[in-house]
Symmetry: C2
């Protein structure tokens, strides 16, 4: 590591609305020398748009444009080799800035820890340079807020699943959890919806599109037209409010309806002598 | 709903550092008439401390103090009845403000959708008043950023578990997921650690205490002294970077080490003709 080298920071910018960046993210973006972000070959960067109000004149921008799209690739090593070369080349572009003493921010949609591309750069560069991560509002948090649903309560488990899994795996994992979020929809939508239905969860499943942006849409999953589903959408299956061991669920017939639609057993039942902090995590 | 009634907003304030509130959260806090927050009987409010820089003179504060602690209760209905009465009474205190046209913000540590107490108030009040939720940085996102680990990549599943589950259930769920976060430690710590070890995951499990605060601590789970573990801590088991169906994992012997310690197979392998956006969720 060079003494005068710049610092690398992966900054989660949340789901898209500039209001949903953290204060720390806005400050680090404002003082960076170089702003980098991933971009689809023919697309715009949602992360760049979310960060736009905090950028300054004179900042360099590095657009890390994905080399392949759904058309596939002619590369003899296939998709894997293309992407490996892409991340190597992107890391070297950022390394050149860092070696010259310039601080580099990589803008990441959502939270970098949740399926973020920044981790490919962090892994390649954090041994050579000071590198850190600023967490962001994940798409799951944004969607739950948009839907107004209590995603997990009490002793519930939450499973986060990519829609790219097989229908069989989705069905098995959905059937075995209290609450779930399924990301990466788009062309996986019909598989995901069938798996939710087969797991007996369609009635309480919510669909949230572009949560935390101006184009946000919230619907019952059962009502969604598959033809209208973009990649930036997810399915939420809120928990029921269980207390106790595996499979045991507590309901209250008189529980008020959560605006999301399903009734939630919100009264604390059967914890025994308890620490109220257990309710407030 | 009264025409001139105030608005209720549950605001996620993140893990504790004032820098980790969203811009939206800071704005809504600044203009609220009433600031409410939960508080343990003998404790301070982490949420209040995180929001402190954004409070204004003249704002009323409503402290919603949990009625019982680990000592238990003398109430004939037990803990459940005590907590139900508490939430009813808290909701009525906030309703009085809302009916008088005062906007009320309830400060929530982390993200309200993740085991948050605000949902008990939202459920009771959203039918009578305009109520909304501002998402926050969850403890899981903050901990992953602090540890510098890629929590989930590619087609991996993430399971979020409360440490209050039985050892058997923890072990089974940990063994069946790619990546995990176990919350609500403290006195559950030894059960959680044993379950992680029994599931064969101790070597890559990280312990993160008070992530996103000045008192943050990150350690290998194997090195943690159980006597030192507070409630505000969690265990992360990062994924390996799998691609493909259930149980199939892809590793790269030459993958650089992530600073968190474990080697991560970060090269994209075997997706076939793919949409690069699948890497950028």
């Amino acid at each position: 590591m060079t003494a005068a080298a710049g610092r690398l920071t992966g900054v989660g910018v949340g789901p898209g609305d500039p209001d949903l960046l953290t204060v720390r993210a806005t400050r680090i973006i404002a003082v960076a020398d170089v702003i980098a972000y991933h971009c689809a070959r023919h697309g715009r960067s949602i992360a760049r748009a979310a960060a736009a109000p905090y950028l300054r004149d004179g900042q360099a921008e590095e657009i890390l444009r994905y080399p392949v799209t759904t058309e596939g690739t002619e590369h003899p090593g296939g998709y894997a080799a293309v992407m490996a070369e892409f991340y190597e080349e992107a890391a070297e572009r950022l390394a050149a800035h860092l070696e010259s003493g310039r601080d580099v921010v990589v803008l990441c949609e959502g939270d970098p820890a949740f399926y973020g591309s920044y981790q490919h750069l962090h892994t390649r560069l954090s041994g050579r340079f000071t590198a850190s991560i600023v967490p962001g509002i994940s798409s799951v948090s944004a969607a739950a807020a948009a839907a107004g649903v209590p995603l997990v309560q009490h002793d519930e488990t939450l499973t986060i699943l990519p829609g790219t899994l097989s229908g069989d795996e989705l069905r098995a994992r959905l059937a075995g959890t209290d609450a779930a979020a399924v990301l990466k929809l788009g062309r996986t939508f019909e598989t995901v919806r069938s798996a939710v239905e087969d797991a007996g969860l369609l009635a309480r499943a919510r669909y949230v599109e572009r949560a935390g942006t101006g184009a946000q849409r919230v619907e019952a999953l059962a009502d969604v037209d598959p033809a209208t589903v973009p990649y930036m959408s997810l399915v939420l299956v809120p928990g029921h409010g269980r207390r106790g061991g595996l499979g045991e669920r507590v309901h209250e017939a008189s529980a008020p309806a959560w605006p999301g639609g399903q009734a939630c057993g919100v009264t604390v039942v059967g914890l025994g002598p308890g620490d109220p902090a257990w309710l407030a995590a």
